[in-house]
């Protein structure tokens, strides 16, 4: 399947969001990959909006799109409850960071496609009130 590259703007937003989340002082989540923490934080508002199965569908689509861009994500899967597994073994830190950015960017990009940038940002800011695009 031919990949779809997220726009530079969305990619940059994903990159900054991951960096922001990584910098946040949350000891309980310290062993959890940052992309997983971001995905879990987005799960709540998105499940409210589209249901848990709707959230799983969106994440699955984002993962499929991301895998086409970053082959290193091929081992990552989505569990029936909508959580990601296989994120701990994404290669070196550079490859791991790129995989996280791509997956997050594809998820945010899907939201832009469906509901527009304004509403996507509104969802993001609700979860990360201090974060600004």
């Amino acid at each position: 399947m031919k990949g779809r590259t997220p726009s530079p703007k969305i990619r940059e937003l994903a990159q900054r969001l991951l960096a922001y989340e990584a910098a946040s002082d949350n000891l309980s989540d310290s062993n959890m990959p940052t992309v997983l923490r971001v995905s879990e934080k987005l799960r709540r508002p998105l499940s409210t909006l589209v249901g848990s199965s709707g959230f799983r569908s969106l994440l699955a689509r984002a993962l499929t799109l991301a895998k086409a861009q970053v082959p290193g994500l091929s081992a990552v899967e989505i569990k029936p409850d909508g959580s990601l597994e296989g994120l701990h073994d994404l290669g070196n830190p550079g490859q791991s960071a790129e995989a996280g950015i791509m997956l997050t960017a594809q998820l945010l990009g899907l939201l832009v496609t469906f509901i527009g940038e304004g509403l996507m940002l509104s969802l993001v800011f609700d979860e990360w009130p201090e974060f600004r695009a």
Binding site: T48, L49, G51, F114, L119, S122
Partner: protein
């Protein structure tokens, strides 16, 4: 009970232009309502207009989606409307998907989830879309549905929420349906395709606590959402103006004389005649006469554009461009082919209010009818009655033109059987005299006074319509093929222009 002891029911604005008037002032606060109708008729959009018009961070709206249109798509499409305010999302308006809950835990789960969310958010508005899918799952168990609806109604009323349940219902389901029994308000939206036009109508089938305007009201969906057009044209309850003694000039002294001094103010005058007899010109002279007397006017045209209308007036020495620029005259061109009478009327009424117009020309009723969606044409006569009654009731004098198919055996007053709707009728017609096709006019009816019974010849000149003397010496003029009467009598009229030439 004395009036001051009665509970006051607040009325909430619906956010739908025209609908508050139909509802009798707005939607009763804390009411439990159903919006029903076929797919695509605007139910969800109506609910969205209401929530965006009323939701606040303190009393937000909870919008529960259940096995219907996914919220993601709903947001995608609804944000195209101008009323959609993205800044209210997740602050004043919250979308909550309950599909999974319904599939896994049924009605009990739905009620528990709604209860949990309502108690947490203290909403002022709750919408369940689509409610139909909720009850369809347990369709065979009527008692269970009734119990669920009862509890839901009780919960939402107790929490002081104004509620909408949205569902795809057909009218045959109205009977013995417990949901409709519990509801305080029942909004039914209809959408039918007639020939190539879409006709949308709504009916307030039930509204507890206040008087709504009965019957079917047309509505349209535009970029701004729904806009409703009341059958009463927003003039319900308005005290009709008593007919005045004032007469309005037609701009032609001889015609004013035939009318007994002009058209009584607030009357509806019909000018009927076949093509080329000068109906539009008489209408233009009527408007121009009003403008000369400082009376703003509105002309609704269906067969030519405003600039063409003004240019044609100029060719008869009547300047309409200046009053149009000055704001004393508005020429409204109404040509879309799927209009309802009520939409047309709303546009005319808005123009009348804006200009403070005293005179209105509708040129022509045939064009008006053609501009309507086929489905509305069957109601044209009734709609025309409402329109004329409403406008003359606020003191506007209306001149309408109507095209007549010429018969040379009889004199018809109107093809629409609408003569009884009008106060006054002027009939124009062709007659064949001495190998010439000439024109005569007569005042057929004046409801509020005496009028001339003369049949007078007239001509259309570069100065407008010029009326001659009574055409004497002929019998059966009104058939169009007169025959010579008394040989000694004068055989033809002399128009004012001919008289002037002599």
């Amino acid at each position: 009970m004395i009036p001051q002891d009665r509970v006051k029911i607040n009325k909430l604005p619906t956010g739908v232009p025209g609908l508050d008037e139909i509802l009798g002032g707005g939607l009763p606060e804390f009411s439990f309502n159903i919006i029903a109708g076929a797919p695509g008729c605007g139910k969800t959009t109506l609910a969205h207009q209401f929530i965006f018009a009323n939701a606040t961070p303190e009393r937000p709206a909870l919008y529960f989606t259940v096995l219907g249109e996914p919220a993601l798509k709903m947001l995608r499409y609804q944000q195209q409307y101008t009323f959609f305010d993205a800044s209210k999302l997740n602050r004043s308006v919250h979308f909550i998907n309950l599909s999974q809950v319904l599939l896994e835990r049924g009605l009990t789960g739905i009620l528990e989830e709604i209860t949990k969310e309502v108690e947490a958010a203290n909403p002022g508005i709750v919408v369940v879309d689509s409610f139909r899918t909720v009850v369809r799952k347990v369709l065979e168990n009527e008692v269970q549905i009734q119990g669920f609806v009862q509890q839901l109604g009780l919960l939402l009323t107790s929490w002081e929420a104004t509620t909408f349940l949205i569902g795809e219902y057909v009218e045959s389901e109205l009977r013995d349906n417990p949901i409709f029994t519990v509801a305080d308000g029942l909004f039914w939206l209809y959408q039918t395709v007639e020939r190539n036009s879409v006709v949308r109508k709504l009916q307030i089938m039930k509204l507890r606590g206040q008087a709504s305007v009965p019957g079917m009201h047309t509505f349209r969906i535009t970029d701004h959402g729904l806009q409703a057009f009341s059958r009463t044209l927003g003039l319900a309850g308005r005290k009709n103006k008593a007919p005045g003694a004032k007469r309005l000039s037609m701009g032609i002294p001889e015609l004013d004389e035939m009318l007994g001094g002009g058209i009584p103010e607030g009357d509806s005058l019909l000018i009927a005649g076949s093509s080329g007899t000068g109906k539009s010109l008489l209408a233009t002279q009527f408007i121009a006469a009003g403008l000369r007397e400082g009376q703003p006017g509105i002309v609704a045209v269906f067969e030519e554009r405003p600039e063409e209308y003004a240019a044609r007036a100029t060719s008869f020495g009547l300047d309409l461009n200046t009053p149009m620029k000055d704001g004393n005259l508005e020429v409204i061109y109404l040509r879309p082919l799927d209009l309802s009478v009520d939409e047309t009327m709303q546009e005319i009424l808005d123009a009348i209010k804006k200009k403070g117009a005293k005179r209105l020309v509708i040129d022509s009723l045939a064009g008006f009818e053609m501009a309507l969606a086929p489905g509305f044409r069957t109601d044209f006569r009734e709609s025309l009655y409402r329109m004329i009654y409403s406008l003359t009731g606020i003191g506007v004098t209306i001149l309408s033109t109507v095209e007549m198919e010429e018969s040379f055996t009889e004199l018809l007053f109107s093809t629409y059987s609408i003569s009884f709707l009008t106060d006054d009728i002027i009939r124009l017609r062709y007659v064949e005299i001495e190998g010439q096709l000439r024109k005569v006019l007569m005042v057929v009816k004046m409801r509020r006074g005496a009028h001339s019974s003369d049949i007078r010849e007239y001509e259309i000149t570069s100065q407008g319509v010029i009326i001659g003397e009574r055409l004497t010496g002929y019998d059966r003029l009104i058939t169009g093929i007169p025959r010579l009467g008394d040989e000694s009598a004068p055989k033809k009229s002399s128009s004012r222009r001919q008289a002037a030439e002599r």
